[in-house]
């Protein structure tokens, strides 16, 4: 009797487990887990990670052959967007200002909740014109309060400040010259009204499988800002780039071609 009893219980349990599995498998109404993917921003020079200790210390050589050091890298990304296979898009429309040297905001979780699944992920480098027209007290305060672009240059906000020094070998002796690769909306204030062109760009990171704990690495290859499709000549384009309409176009085109990749 005890043997029969234990066998019966074992069969009953086995049956329940099987039923349980089957019901799980067959139940299409079970909601998928809701997840909040996050992002991690990393920075490298042609694959070599850039750490805090590299700023003002490590010498890099750009595509044009100029030796340079970096001193500042701060940039703005916005409108991280997830698109599923059905054409649905999910975006919180929020933004993140990253200070690579100081390690500020290297991790960012957009205010968006998704079901587990596969999504195409993209973001905007800088602000598109719609966002750039807004007024953001936190950005007015950010980067010491100097992230704003003066109205005479079209207003809005910087997209990026990449600063450092390059070695001018055309002088004797050679000298260190500062450069300020500042990306903003292209503007020409020699016209009335000022001519503006949105030079933010969308970066498509491709497909990502989003599940609980998903962290997506966004890599910036700083060397690419000087490389492709325009070989950047620091002797010609080192300063006063904000009011330089054509320089902003070149920056935008270089930025959209291989600067950002998914890690």
């Amino acid at each position: 009797m005890p043997l029969f009893h234990s066998t019966f219980v074992a069969r009953l349990l086995m049956g329940l487990i099987i039923v349980s599995f089957i019901s799980c498998k067959d139940n299409d109404d079970t909601p998928l887990a809701e997840v909040n993917p996050s992002f991690n921003f990393t920075h490298n020079w042609d694959g070599v990670p850039i750490q805090n200790s590299d700023y003002e210390n490590t010498t890099y050589v750009n595509e044009n052959g100029e030796s340079l050091t970096l001193s500042k890298l701060v940039y703005l990304i916005s409108d991280i967007t997830f698109s599923d296979a059905q054409g649905n898009t999910f975006s919180a429309g929020d933004y993140n200002l990253i200070d690579a040297r100081e390690g500020i905001n290297l991790n960012f979780a957009p205010d968006v909740t998704l079901e587990e699944g596969t999504y195409n992920v993209s973001f905007t480098f800088g602000f598109d014109d719609e966002d750039n027209a807004g007024d953001y007290p936190d950005l007015n305060t950010a980067d010491g309060g100097v992230w704003i672009v003066p109205m005479m240059l079209g207003g809005g906000y910087h997209y990026m400040k990449l600063e450092g020094k390059y070695t001018d070998t055309q002088t004797t002796p050679s000298s260190e010259v500062g450069f300020a690769y500042h990306a903003i909306r292209a503007n020409d204030n020699s016209t009335d009204p000022i001519t503006l062109q949105d030079t933010s760009f969308i970066v498509n990171l491709g497909e990502v499988v989003v599940s609980p704990g998903t962290e997506i690495e966004i890599q910036m290859n700083v060397a690419e800002w000087f490389k492709n499709p325009h070989t950047w000549n620091l002797y010609e384009l080192y300063m006063m780039l904000m009011p330089n309409f054509q320089a902003q176009i070149l920056m935008s085109e270089n930025g959209a071609n291989g600067v950002f990749t998914k890690g």
Partner: protein, 355 residues
């Protein structure tokens, strides 16, 4: 059933006991809460100040801080107050390049003006970033041998022995037992109330006053990357603080007798870097730079125009260093100066709340 009732009774008793215990705890003393009088321009453009949780503004705390600020009782020989080197008539700075301590010793840096520091809560203070916040900053001058040259136990004893302070501390902090932390908190509260936001340029932004043609041209030079390009460190009309509150080497010297931030951090990359001062109230804050080397605003503009000197840590934002600077014309310099002076706020000097 009876057991359940018994359990409910036990739980209820425990709750009553816990509530009673909680009720018996003395509630922390809280003086009368106070708010900063924030100008609309500030409230509408930048984030509000972050007042430390452990030092909220109170009416009594601010009043005590103001009394302490003007009282020489904190100095070793009872001759020097905070206001001795931070004169209200100079926007709380010192007209001398270096302030004089109680024994005649000269300091090594120009006394920084005090205003709008409530918003400087996201970066260190002092020319060299040696204090992380106002409360910490206030500790230092009292014991600095070339300033007040006192000890904190002696300063606290002087306050304790005075006829007025135990009562004032009681009102501010709920105790007559004075300590140095409360002294620094009270002075910090008062300093946070020092707000300057009523310059001609502020009124211009509010649509209340027109800029002169000279001032308007000066603003354009200030914001023009190809001429002044001052805005990358000193801000713009969208931020009323007129400083990035960061540290830069602005091309003063080829070699550093004073390492500035570098002496604090120990990082050679910080050598020769000093905190960007606000451009507000330049009419009252001469001399200029961390060592007060320039006695006039003209000299400052000349420096950026043709006086820059290269050193390894010079900011990349300092342009045309090989030529000495941005080479402004005499007219551009005059216009720029006119704009800069429009940022001065006369009403700040006479605000009775600050005197």
């Amino acid at each position: 059933m009876l057991g359940n009732i018994k359990n409910i009774g036990l739980i209820g008793g425990l709750v009553v006991f816990l509530l009673a215990c909680n009720g018996d705890e003395p509630s922390p003393y809280m003086a009368t809460p106070a708010n900063l009088d924030v100008p609309d321009l500030f409230a509408n453009s930048i984030l509000p100040p972050q007042i430390p949780n452990d030092n909220p503004l109170t009416v009594e705390g601010i009043a005590l801080g103001k009394t302490l600020f003007y009282d020489p009782i904190l100095s070793a020989n009872n001759t020097q107050a905070c206001a001795s080197c931070h004169l209200p008539s100079q926007a709380f700075s010192d007209p001398n390049p270096f302030s004089v301590g109680i024994d005649g010793s000269l300091g090594t840096r120009n006394s920084m003006p005090l205003f709008n520091l409530a918003w400087h809560d996201r970066g260190p203070l002092n020319w060299d970033g040696s204090a992380i916040n106002l409360e910490e900053q206030i500790f230092e001058p009292v014991t600095n041998p070339i300033e007040m040259a006192n000890t904190w136990p002696n300063a606290v004893q002087s306050l304790q022995n005075s006829g007025i302070y135990p009562e004032l501390f009681d009102a501010a902090f709920g105790t007559t037992q004075i300590d140095s932390v409360m002294v620094s908190k009270a002075i910090a509260q008062f300093v946070r109330t020092l707000i300057s936001g009523n310059s001609k340029f502020d009124r211009h932004l509010l649509g209340l006053e027109e800029l002169s043609q000279e001032e308007a041209r000066g603003l354009n030079i200030f914001l023009d990357e190809t001429r002044g390009d001052c805005f990358h460190c000193h801000g713009n009309p969208g931020n009323p603080l007129w400083t990035d509150n960061r540290f830069h080497n602005n091309g003063l010297d080829a070699f550093f007798e004073d390492r500035g931030l570098g002496a604090v951090t120990g990082d050679p990359r910080d050598d020769g870097l000093f905190r960007t001062p606000s451009l507000r109230n330049l009419s009252f804050t001469a001399p200029y730079m961390h060592d007060g080397r320039f006695s006039t605003l003209d000299e400052v503009i000349d420096h950026y125009s043709e006086g820059l000197v290269y050193s390894e840590t010079i900011s990349p934002l300092m342009k045309s260093v090989a030529d000495g600077g941005v080479q402004l014309t005499a007219e551009e310099k005059s216009d720029l100066k006119a704009f800069l002076l429009s940022l001065s706020d006369e009403s700040f000097l006479t605000n009775p709340d600050y005197q």
